[in-house]
Symmetry: C2
Subunit: 106 residues, 2 copies
Amino acid sequence: MAADKVFEALASRPRREILAYLSAQELTAGEIASRFAMSAPSISRHLSVLEASGLVSSERQGQFIVYRLNRDSLVNTLTGFAFEICPKAGPLKRESRKLAAKKQGA
Amino acid sequence: MAADKVFEALASRPRREILAYLSAQELTAGEIASRFAMSAPSISRHLSVLEASGLVSSERQGQFIVYRLNRDSLVNTLTGFAFEICPKAGPLKRESRKLAAKKQGA
DNA sequence: TAATTATTTAGCTACTAAGCTAATTAACGA
DNA sequence: TCGTTAATTAGCTTAGTAGCTAAATAATTA
């Protein structure tokens, strides 16, 4: 099952942060590594886990390797799971601020 | 961060299956264990991980302990993350069958 | 109170993952 | 070709997790 690898990939804060960085723009391995207090080899391993899960892809551009987010993989896995678990919930929506405030008060 | 524990909890197939069972109805620990080819203590540990993440809650009812799904926790964490990663994606929707079929053909 | 059922906790082994440094591969530029 | 930069792979240590069986706790029933 593909979901297995995706959820495993998501179970790491550094990897989720990498995805967040890549959600803004494509980045080289080095640009990603420079955003973390972690060795380049460690980031490289995280990137390979993300790539094996299908959440990111990479392309060599000369000396560099550029990583990009595969949004569809992520969205499909998360919504697929959410629908499995919350059959009656309908499309996922961010909770409105009004409603959230109401709950806080209650 | 709460998302840490949630994603860690989701990174296990048996735990995701437990959530799927609980999405249909409340179940006792024993009822859950009986659905798996795994010892009761192992299931008990999975349940405690799920509970620590906030995805399920439990209540003792006499001799039994009943577990139920906390849908809000799950939906809020997943959508929160999806919005963080896919700022332009808008509310998550299941891909329509038509569109999926089209992609298959292409 | 003693026995039974439901569940968890303790203690163990085996495996996997995360991080590091050192070494290797790949591409570029003088 | 040689040196430099970018990135990965190898090898290691440490820590965490999953599963098991056996033992303990909690509540019910005879």
